[in-house]
């Protein structure tokens, strides 16, 4: 089975430990070197087929996170991935160096939050700085808004990322129907939910073809079918985001649906679907093969 995670910022494991334990790994909300209150309210808005958020990387800061939050997360008994963010490469390096000795399973480099200022350096430089600071597995989280996400994924691979997290939210805007003013305090926010699904699929598809790296696919996953699509496009793991807001039981449900959906296609393990969207047109799925294939 492909691992099932949460998308960063879509679950607080300390507030809902049972939900965290229903995942194969818990990904923290993004941590920055200094504490951040986050953006002013209003921070969320529903849109057709999705939502907008502008939380703005609210977090207690690296010191408080490592000394107070992380020890409690590690007690939950679920592997912990820490999402780190910042405004320059040095911020990422500082956080990675600090986490290098901690019992975290992996570090996600959030270089693509649409609700705060972008880091000064290019993704490649941030990954290189983080790589020099830690031996932990690094997953670089990219924006689907990049003109050529596969090129940036390749650059991240050259700089030493171990995998990719695809995708972050897209920048979007919602207006109040009564006032025609932006709903969110920052005007624009990150689009997530079902509307993001085809965008995520395209990014995973392109980055798998370009890099072959492990990919955590995310973006509008609500059912096992959606997760299987991401795997077929090239994801090796999936993460749940917006669906967790309305259905904290989603991890168990999606996992069961994923197994059933794959089985119906003749796949014993959903992971066997990885990359199938890239196969030659004449290559059938096991379920399409009337006579079992001969094995020499």
């Amino acid at each position: 089975m492909p691992p099932l995670l949460n998308a960063s910022g879509c679950l607080d494991a300390l507030a809902a430990p049972d939900v965290a334990r229903s995942l194969d790994a818990f990904v923290t909300k993004t941590v920055t070197p200094l504490p951040r209150d986050g953006n002013a309210p209003v921070r969320i808005a529903e849109i057709d087929c999705g939502m907008l958020n502008t939380i703005g990387l609210a977090n207690p800061g690296l010191d408080d996170f490592v000394c107070d939050t992380l020890p409690r997360l590690l007690e939950l008994g679920v592997p912990v991935w820490v999402s780190v963010g910042g405004f320059r490469a040095g911020d990422y390096a500082e956080s990675c160096a600090r986490l290098d000795d901690e019992g975290v399973e992996a570090i996600e480099l959030n270089v693509s939050c649409p609700n705060v200022e972008s880091p000064v350096e290019a993704t490649e430089e941030i990954v290189a700085a983080a790589r020099a600071a830690t031996a932990k597995p690094l997953f670089t989280k990219l924006s689907p808004q990049l003109p050529d996400v596969a090129a940036v994924a390749l650059a991240a691979a050259r700089a030493g990322t171990d995998g990719l997290s695809l995708v972050n939210t897209l920048r979007g805007l919602a207006l109040d129907p009564r006032t025609l003013a932006p709903v969110l305090s920052t005007a624009t926010g990150g689009v997530s939910g079902p509307v993001l699904r085809p965008v995520a699929l395209a990014a995973v598809h392109a980055c798998y073809a370009a890099t072959g790296l492990p990919i955590v696919g995310m973006g509008g996953v609500e059912t096992g079918r959606h997760a299987l699509d991401l795997i077929a496009a090239g994801a090796s793991a999936c993460a749940l985001g917006t669906i967790l807001f309305r259905d904290p039981d989603a991890p168990a449900r999606v996992r069961a649906e994923l197994a059933r959906t794959a089985f119906r296609l003749g796949l014993e393990d959903p992971l066997a679907a990885r990359g199938l969207a890239h196969r030659e047109a004449e290559m059938p799925l096991p379920s399409e093969t009337k006579i079992p294939a001969k094995v020499d």
Binding site: A16, P41, I55, F245
Partner: protein, 230 residues
């Protein structure tokens, strides 16, 4: 432990400008007055937060003001439709107060109806925009009702332990008049259980999650000290 079920809708009853949405209780707990539930309207991405209004035997009842896409979808539900319900969530009112006074504004009267039931008998002042909205006051027998341009804050009697819920300007006014008041606050909320950080409001000078710290706050949590002193 989060509890989520999809119980059947029993009825949607018009009540002036509002509607009372009654669903089967299933295995859900009623919780404390002021706690809330997340209801997912059909066809919407996000659930909506509602405090419990009434707890008839075997049912949960919520007061709905059909003002947007989600709330309109809720009042269009038919008996027998399934409605995903998560809760109860958050921190409710403390009921161990010697001289309770329930102060509600508009749709904010909802948790006070359940609070009155749990308190036994408690005086209440309810304010509304229009006589049509004020029809919902029938849920709280014996309540004093005021309609704009009269405001509930004009009728607050001193020395009472105020439990209030209503629009933000009303809550700020109540907080200034009754520093010991318990105030049920509201904010746009995507999850209701601390996951999304969307419902941040300024509490004790910092942005904090209302679903975790509230929704019932004290006046001291939300009113800057200098304003209170003034």
């Amino acid at each position: 432990m989060l509890r989520r079920e999809a119980p059947s809708v029993v009825a949607v009853e018009p009540l002036g400008a509002y509607s009372l949405l009654r669903v089967e209780r299933a295995t859900l707990e009623c919780g404390d007055p002021g706690q809330f539930f997340m209801l997912t309207p059909p066809g919407r991405t996000l659930p909506r937060a509602f405090s419990l209004c009434l707890a008839p035997p075997g049912e949960l009842a919520f007061l709905v003001d059909p003002v947007g896409l989600g709330t309109r979808a809720l009042v269009e539900l038919q008996p027998g439709d399934r409605l995903p319900v998560l809760g109860p969530l958050g921190r409710g009112f403390r009921l161990d107060v010697p001289r309770p006074l329930l102060v509600g504004g508009g749709i904010g009267i909802a948790p006070l109806v359940y609070a009155a039931e749990r308190l036994g008998r408690a005086p209440a002042i309810l304010g509304f925009r229009t006589p049509e909205h004020a029809k919902a006051a029938s849920l709280l027998q014996g309540a004093e009702v005021v309609i704009e341009p009269t405001y509930v804050t004009e009728r607050l009697s001193p020395g009472r332990d105020v439990l209030a819920c209503g629009p933000e300007p009303m809550l700020h006014a109540v907080a200034c008049l009754a520093p010991s008041a318990q105030l049920a606050w509201e904010a746009p909320m995507a999850c209701g259980y601390g996951a999304c950080f969307g419902c941040a409001v300024e509490i004790r000078g910092r942005l904090r999650r209302l679903c975790v710290e509230g929704p019932v706050l004290t006046a001291a949590d939300v009113v800057p000290a200098e304003l209170e002193a003034a």
